[in-house]
């Protein structure tokens, strides 16, 4: 490497470029960054303090502002707009295995009674599981079955299709598709076809 190259390497970027760098770094950072942290990331000779000041001025009055937190800096929502974020207060939780299996069985076998779900899963279905799926608006009650006891059946809802990005329940892949997509263990073998036929559960 020649001296000329070295010199160029150590040329600091233009002020406007340094401002862009600080903007990108603070945006992507998972926690507030100190001047020192910024300097470590930026090309040698940069002046993060000056860049920060110009950047802070640019964001004055905007929807987000550059805020100093102790010795560090971070973007924060403008305080007067905090109300917009409040609806975000949602806790994300994964469905239990029992719930997701029950949902899958309803999706594939609808309309299906609780006894049938239990038969397929091989264990009892707790009331809470179906209640949860119903309160999520993924499952609803269908017609009663015209058989002794007239049991209620369960079917999936449009909200279910929406959530799982399906155009219709008919688009659910069949067992063969599952196997081909590698989702079904191969040793399931030929005996595992559902009684109603392979691909076309709803046809």
């Amino acid at each position: 490497m020649s001296d000329g190259d070295l010199d160029r390497l150590f040329d600091a970027p233009e002020p406007a470029e340094q401002e862009r760098m600080v903007e990108a770094l603070l945006f992507a950072a998972a926690e507030p960054m100190t001047l020192r942290m910024l300097a470590e990331r930026m090309p040698a000779g940069s002046d993060p303090k000056a860049a920060l000041e110009r950047l802070a001025a640019r964001y004055v009055g905007r929807g987000v502002e550059l805020r100093r937190i102790g010795e560090a800096w971070a973007f924060r929502t403008a305080p007067d707009l905090g109300f917009l974020m409040r609806r975000d207060l949602v806790e994300h939780r994964k469905l239990s295995r029992a719930a997701i299996e029950t949902l899958a069985i309803v999706a594939y076998h609808q309309p299906v009674t609780r006894a049938e779900i239990e038969e397929i899963r091989g264990v009892a279905v707790s009331k809470g599981t179906l209640d949860l799926l119903i309160s999520l608006d993924w499952v609803r009650l269908g017609r009663r079955r015209q058989s002794p006891g007239r049991p209620v059946t369960y079917v999936t809802t449009d909200a279910f299709l929406d959530h799982f990005g399906l155009e219709s329940a008919r688009d659910l892949p069949g067992l063969r598709d599952l196997r081909e997509a590698g989702l079904l263990a191969d040793h399931a073998g030929g005996g595992a076809e559902p009684p109603r036929g392979d691909d076309d559960l709803f046809g």
Binding site: A24, I100, A104, I105, G122, L172, L183, A185, H187, A192
Partner: protein, 263 residues
């Protein structure tokens, strides 16, 4: 040319300068299948893919397969199927068209193969261009510190389509694993109930609820329990009808009681 290939591809596996016999000493595992090899051979012709000599290509492929067999390399069926197809194509290209048999002409078959190679080549280039794009998490970044909710009041139950499909696949797989002898219909037969009840009857001193007579091994799942209740109930009715037992119920839906009939 070979250097157009993505990293990891066995570029130079077919050395263009060497003669074909040399080129055959290559690692067949390096190819993803006959079409992959054909595309590599076509590139070795150093012409625009549209002007590739399909006849020459067929010959190269057939020599390759013959050599692999001579070296006792185990070839998967699709390699041999392609060889048979190319041998047929070669004969069509070499022999004057036989208009009587009505099948596709050699030129048509060659055109289709050339088209398929072109399409695979196009996909590979497209894949390279796609992967060369700026990518999220590598070249550009999302907000690193999304604003944390201050207060979690509601719960969003999440599941992805993949979760759903895996769950269903899991259920079906479990089912498939049940040994056949376990798949007896979960029905407690009337005969079983009758025998059990009749055998138990002499030991009953006073009114006893019918539920006491349910076999333990039949009350583990709701379905089996239902079957046991139904059959035990009918068995009790039958014993009463025969005059061997008496039944009593205080009110509709109250527990049923049973005792041996006193002579």
């Amino acid at each position: 040319m070979a250097d157009d290939f993505a990293p990891g591809f066995p570029s130079g596996a077919v050395a263009p300068e060497s003669d074909d016999a040399e080129a055959l000493r290559l690692d067949i595992e390096g190819f993803e299948g006959p079409l992959d090899l054909l595309l590599t051979l076509a590139r070795s012709q150093k012409v625009d893919l549209r002007r590739v000599s399909i006849l020459q290509l067929a010959e190269q492929y057939l020599r390759f397969v013959a050599e692999a067999r001579r070296l006792r390399i185990e070839l998967a069926a699709d390699w041999l199927v392609m060889a048979a197809w190319l041998a047929f194509l070669k004969s069509r290209l070499l022999l004057p068209a036989a208009p009587a048999d009505g099948g596709p002409s050699g030129a048509e078959m060659a055109e289709r193969l050339a088209r398929q190679l072109e399409r695979l080549e196009a996909v590979r280039r497209a894949a390279e261009r796609l992967m060369a794009r700026d990518r999220l998490g590598r070249d550009f970044f999302a907000r690193g510190e999304p604003e944390a909710p201050e207060d979690a009041r509601s719960t969003a139950w999440g599941a992805t389509l993949a979760d759903l499909l895996k769950a269903y696949a899991g259920v079906r797989t479990r089912e498939a694993y049940q040994p056949l002898h376990m798949r007896r219909a979960p029905v407690y037969t009337l005969e079983m109930a009758f025998e059990r009840l009749r055998a138990a009857l002499p030991g009953v001193r006073d009114w006893a609820t019918l539920a006491l007579f349910l076999p333990h091994e039949w009350i583990d799942t709701p379905q089996r329990r239902r079957s046991a209740i139904a059959s035990t109930f009918v068995a009790a009715l039958e014993l009463a009808r025969r005059g061997e037992a008496e039944l009593r119920q205080e009110a509709p839906f109250a527990p049923l009681h049973l005792r041996p009939r006193t002579p």
